[in-house]
Every structure is written in structure tokens, then in C-alpha cells.
Symmetry: C2
Subunit: 257 residues, 2 copies
């Protein structure tokens, strides 16, 4: 499916273009002077957020400015600029009610996230196809994926299914059987972020999920607090630069790599 | 106690000086052109190793070259250039025998490491006194501590006792009551490295130790494999640069900080 750019702005060395691929709205960030073969970082947004959520945009711009990467985000089904289905609305209402009443969220989140992932994984694959057709990307650019909470519920099955994704950061995700099943098929290098004292995500299930990833290279990063505030700046391990980075990239000082 | 330098060499931008403080032999690494107020990184060596073990030297030189830090290491009691006491030899023999016979190491390591820590903590404090008396360091330079295995068995009580240490990386350590008790008194920012599949260190006790650190800012980094090969290069989070770094330090490119 074709990718159509709808807007373009440029600031602080970052070219920011909105795009649409059929009904999927997205954003594509690029260095003003991208190196040939620069890696592409796919960025999933958290539950209830969207492709231009401030935290996501900050990480995307950092990847562009600091690492010379391209970055892309799309709205998940029912998020951002996309209409929410009646069924999704029922799940959201049930989740907010359970949260307000301090009841377990898992019985709602497991089927909701499973359904989201079933819809979103094919959309990400179409998005990869479309981005690879851009001259800036092409078929050879290394591709990584980063996303917490629902973006991990989507990203873990995506990484299990999609060999073009070479490295990923996940975390803060509700664990249910479909996620565990997908994680057992993930073999790429991963980092996994675990909120240590989350009121909603139990620690033990996160440790189990980390354990079952089939990746030979995997690192667990656990930190105090909840999944609402992931301290990505404090646990930046320059993972994607190591996994995807190309030394001759313009703008990347070798001593930073 | 006075610090006496015994040798000095210089290569690749690093000045390497051996020193002695009474019976404590050490190494002090510095940038050829150190910035005033450059931080000091104290580096403990692992069990059976010494102040010039290759992994330690590589990390020390990286701290000097990349971050503009000073770094220092000393031999733990009975290690490196220091004579091993009869009691320490008994513990070492018992440990090697238990390892060869695949028996639990904890009953030997707990008293051995406790004794080492009781001797080594005061030595590190004397070393800090002596290093602070050097004009390159002074009383104000920020100080960090990094060390795995026995260097954590020593470093955790050291960090609990010594307010001059402002940040630390620990890991791969046998957990017994004295270590837990000290960890509960550690309040500085820490990173804690946990080998996920160690044949000798059980995962659960490592998770318990991470949990009890009183530090508001703490991060657990878990990775496949054993404590014999800590992938420090793969989980480099530029922790000390964030915790101790001074932006105006010579040689530190701001975009790396």
C-alpha cells in the first residue's frame, strides 16, 4: 500500500513528516542530512496515547539527532486520529471502571490487548513495507522497534512474526498467555523494562516474561516506580546504536557508540 | 596515611601510577590533562583477581579516556601483591573444593566475604583519605564505586558507611545477612547487575538484595549467563557520567553526556 506524506516541517535538525498508509496515520522523523543506510526505529505508543505523544516524540527526535536514525510511529487501532470501535470502547470503559474500583485489570486487558495486537501487527508490517519503499530507507536499513505497555503487547508478537525487526525494547506490559507464547519465539536482542513497584503490573509475571524470551542477548532493566513513568533517560544503554548503528553514520561521534 | 607513588607510565592519554599506602598497593589512573574537579571512580576487583586484572583496567581506562575521570584500584586483603593469611587460604581451599564437588558455596563464602569486608572497608576509607590529599583530587571531587562479586561484598558495606561515595555499581554477589543489612542502609543511586542463569548465585536472592537497597534511584540490570562474564559493555548506561559527571569536563563531548 502506498505511503502518502501529508505535512512536512523541519526544526533543530529534524524533518517531521505526517503520513497516511490507507487508514493508518503516522509520523516519519528524519535527520536533515541522513546518511545512506541509516537505521529505522519503529516506535509504538502506550495505551491511550498516540503517535505524537510527548514522550514518544522526544525519544524519536533523540534517535534522529543523537544517533542519525530515522524514526516512525503510527496510531494503534482506536488511538490518536483513528476512530474507536464500539467493542474497544467497552473494553476501555471496563478497564477504567476496574481501575477506579481497584479491581484486577488483567481479565479486561488480556482480551483487549490480544485483539489490538491481532489488528496492529499486520498494520506495522504494511507500514514497514511502505517505509522500505522510500528512497531514504530501502530494503537494507536495519530496523528496530521500541514500545512499552500496549506497544509491547503489539511489539512482542510483531517481533516474533517479522524477521525485518532486528532488535527491540519492550516493557511495562501485562502478561498473559498470548504474550508469553510470542516471547518464546522472539530471538532478536532485546531490552526489557520492568517497573519494580507497579500497583497494576505484578513483578513476578514480568520476571517470568523476561525469562521466556528466546533471545540469546537480552537484558532486564528494573527500576522503582510504576509503568506510568518509565525513566528511559536513566536507563539509556544506547542499545539501538549498538544493535543497529552504522559506524560511518554522519553525525555520530565514534566515542559515543 | 601517606600515599607514595612507585611507578608512572603514560599511554593513549592515560597516566598510570602504582602507589602504596602503608601495606595497601594500588593503581591510580588519570587523564593526561585532567580537568579540575574531575570525578574519582573507585574500582574493586573480583574474587581471586587483583588491581590490574584486565577487565578492571579496561573499565578504568575507559572512565579516564571517555569520561575524563580519575580511577583507582587497590588489592583486597590476600589478593594481588598481598600475602594471603592462613585463614583466607583455608577458605579459598574449601571454596574450590566445594565448587569442584558441586556443593553449595554459601556456607564458606558468607564468613569469608564478611571477614574480607571487615578488613577491606577501613582500607578503602584510608585510600579515599589519601587520594583526597592529592592535588588532582581534593576534598570536593565526586566519588563513585564500582565492583562485582567480592568487590560488592566489600562495596555495599563501604557505601553504607562512607558518605563520600555518591553512586555505585554492584552485582554478582553472594547474598547473606550482613550484605542485606548493609544494603538496607545504602541510599545513594545504584545500579545492580544480576546474572540471570548463574550456576552458583541463585536468582531469587539477587532479586531480594536489589529490593532491599534503600536507594530511591536504583536500577536492576539482569542478563543471561554467569557472574564470570559480566557484559559491562552491553549494559553500559553511562551511569557514573550522569551521577558524577561535570559538564565542563575537558574531553567529554556534551552529546555523549
Amino acid at each position: 500500500m502506498d505511503l502518502t506524506f501529508t505535512t512536512e516541517t523541519s526544526s533543530d535538525g529534524v524533518v517531521d513528516r505526517s503520513f497516511a498508509i490507507g487508514e493508518i496515520p503516522g509520523v516519519f522523523w528524519s535527520p536533515e542530512h541522513a546518511a545512506p543506510g541509516a537505521p529505522l526505529l519503529l516506535m509504538g505508543h502506550g495505551g491511550g496515547l498516540h503517535k505524537r505523544s510527548p514522550g514518544l516524540v522526544a525519544l524519536a527526535r533523540q534517535a534522529v539527532v543523537r544517533d542519525g536514525f530515522h524514526a516512525a510511529a503510527i496510531d494503534a487501532p482506536g488511538h490518536g486520529d483513528r476512530p474507536r470501535s464500539q467493542q474497544d470502547q467497552l473494553w476501555v470503559d471496563a478497564m477504567l471502571l476496574a481501575r477506579a474500583q481497584n479491581e484486577p485489570l488483567s481479565p479486561i486487558i488480556a482480551p483487549f490487548n490480544t485483539s489490538l495486537a491481532e489488528r496492529a501487527v499486520p498494520e506495522w508490517r504494511i507500514t514497514i513495507d511502505a517505509l522500505q519503499s522510500l528512497p531514504e530507507i530501502g530494503a537494507e536499513a536495519p530496523i528496530g522497534y521500541s514500545g512499552m505497555t500496549i506497544a509491547s503487547a503489539i511489539g512482542i508478537p510483531l517481533a516474533a512474526a517479522e524477521p525485518r525487526i532486528r532488535a527491540a525494547i519492550f516493557g511495562g506490559v501485562f502478561v498473559y498467555e498470548a504474550v508469553l507464547e510470542a516471547a518464546r519465539r522472539v530471538t532478536i536482542p532485546i531490552e526489557f523494562l520492568l517497573p519494580w513497584d507497579d500497583p497494576e503490573l505484578d513483578r513476578e509475571s514480568g520476571l517470568v516474561l523476561f525469562d521466556v524470551f528466546a533471545s540469546e542477548e537480552k537484558t532486564l532493566h528494573a527500576f522503582p516506580g510504576s509503568h506510568f513513568h518509565m525513566p528511559t533517560d536513566r536507563i539509556d544503554t544506547r542499545f539501538f546504536l549498538r544493535q543497529l548503528g552504522v559506524p560511518e553514520l554522519a553525525g555520530v561521534a565514534p566515542e559515543c557508540a
